[in-house]
């Protein structure tokens, strides 16, 4: 028993560690780890990953909420969409076949890679549109030049919610936090400043993954022998990773991780195609 347990803990620790260093989250690495290395069925990997996303986001968000960037109202409005998506996705994950899940996972990897490569243009909207104002979606962030604050508001809530619905659906289906998609919805579509978008996305990931995890747990589709060590290992790895992060060469690491993402996408895509 101890060899299996030790192997799972090491695998999960590594996934959590790399997930924290790359900023992509543990789910992105634990799923291919379990499917490719530990030869686990895709549904098991998805369930175990959702649980560990809940655990890591709970560990990390303690720090994120304190920094004051998280916009609670934006999070709540969009969580209506992500939770709807996640519950639907997690329900469907029990019905659709493994190759479909593997193919969707490969697509999510490509989206995350594209997200890491895109150029960031910050654009702050000082006055939002009618719905955003009705929902009081606004806030202030410190001006990067020092001293003052920059007021921001939001636009295109329906567009952002639509992308969030997809992010939730993917989260429930393939077990990732879908942070890259969430940040895109807020930052690119709703024009919310990037730092606020990232912090709010981290706040939301736990709730989205939690919704999916509850469906999996209630269905009895989360084998305890795998999920328990994976959750513990990923969390420990993520906490260690976030401690090491300030000393790492982030630019170089990111480029390395993008290559890994592409390799994972190719492997999972290949599995999907050969499984159909």
């Amino acid at each position: 028993m101890l060899e299996i347990l030790g192997g799972l803990l090491a695998l999960a620790f590594g996934a959590g560690f790399i997930g924290a260093l790359s900023g992509l989250g543990g789910g992105v690495f634990i799923i291919p780890g379990l499917v490719i290395l530990a030869k686990m069925p895709m549904e098991v990997a998805v369930g175990a990953s959702l649980i560990s996303v809940v655990a890591t986001s709970a560990g990390a968000s303690v720090a994120f909420v304190r920094d004051g960037w998280t916009n609670l109202k934006v999070a709540m409005v969009l969580e209506c969409a992500t939770v709807t998506g996640a519950v639907t996705g997690a329900y469907l994950a029990g019905i659709v076949s493994a190759p479909v899940l593997e193919g969707l996972f490969a697509l999510m990897m490509l989206q995350a890679a594209y997200f890491s490569l895109r150029r960031i243009e910050e654009e702050v909207v000082p006055v939002g549109d009618r719905l955003a104002r009705r929902l009081d979606l606004q806030g202030d962030i410190p001006d990067s030049l020092g001293g003052g604050v920059v007021h921001y508001e939001a636009v295109n809530v329906p567009g952002g919610a639509a992308v969030m619905l997809i992010a939730g659906l993917m989260s429930g289906l393939v077990g990732v936090g879908a942070g890259a998609l969430k940040v895109t919805a807020m930052d690119y579509i709703m024009k919310i400043p990037l730092k606020v978008s990232s912090a709010t996305s981290n706040f939301m990931i736990g709730v989205t993954a939690g919704a999916g995890a509850l469906v999996f747990l209630s269905r009895g589709a989360v084998p305890t022998t795998i999920a328990a060590p994976v959750a513990l290992g990923v969390t420990a790895g993520a906490l260690t990773g976030s401690r090491v992060l300030p000393y790492a060469n982030v630019g170089l690491l990111r480029r390395g991780f993008i290559v890994i993402l592409f390799l994972i996408a190719i492997e999972m895509g290949w599995r999907a195609l050969s499984g159909i």
Binding site: V44, G59, L72, K73, D143, G206, V207, G210, R219, L232
Partner: protein, 142 residues
């Protein structure tokens, strides 16, 4: 970019003091307590498994590897098993406690918005809580 100078000592008018206090003080305390309890239960469960039923662990692992995933048990049976010291039930309880972290966070926000009489957001957070509960229901029937 619209930049306005404000006194940094003065909190932004839109962020109420209650919201601030709950976010900064109580949420982290709540999250950490639930998270640590879940981790403790999971560790205890694994140690219990290693000492009392290592054979079951290996057997279960191999079965899952072979594709036998589903193990839907009534909640009462899980609770009974956990109290009786059955390692599998203890681990299941640990995993459920872990998912209480996000649930607890939304519930906290729900109470906050009720207190602020912000009914738009009471409705929205209520919907999120409903969605989480629906998840449990769908999992049970699905």
């Amino acid at each position: 970019m619209a930049t306005t100078q404000v006194n940094p000592e003065q909190p932004s008018a839109q962020v109420s003091r209650d919201e601030d206090r709950i976010l900064r003080v109580w949420t982290p305390v709540l999250l950490r307590t639930i998270l640590l309890s879940a981790a403790a239960i999971l560790l205890f469960g694994l140690m219990l498994m290693a000492t009392t039923a290592p054979g079951y662990y290996v057997e279960h692992y191999r079965a899952v590897e072979a594709g036998h995933i589903h193990q839907k048990e009534p909640f009462a049976q899980i609770a009974h098993g956990a109290l009786a010291g059955d390692p599998h039930s203890v681990l299941t309880v640990g995993l459920f406690v872990l998912t209480l972290v996000p649930l607890g966070r939304v519930a906290f926000c729900f109470l906050l918005f009720i207190k602020e009489r912000d009914y738009t957001y009471v409705f929205l957070t209520g919907y999120v809580l409903f969605g989480l509960a629906l998840g449990v229901f769908l999992g049970r029937i699905g």
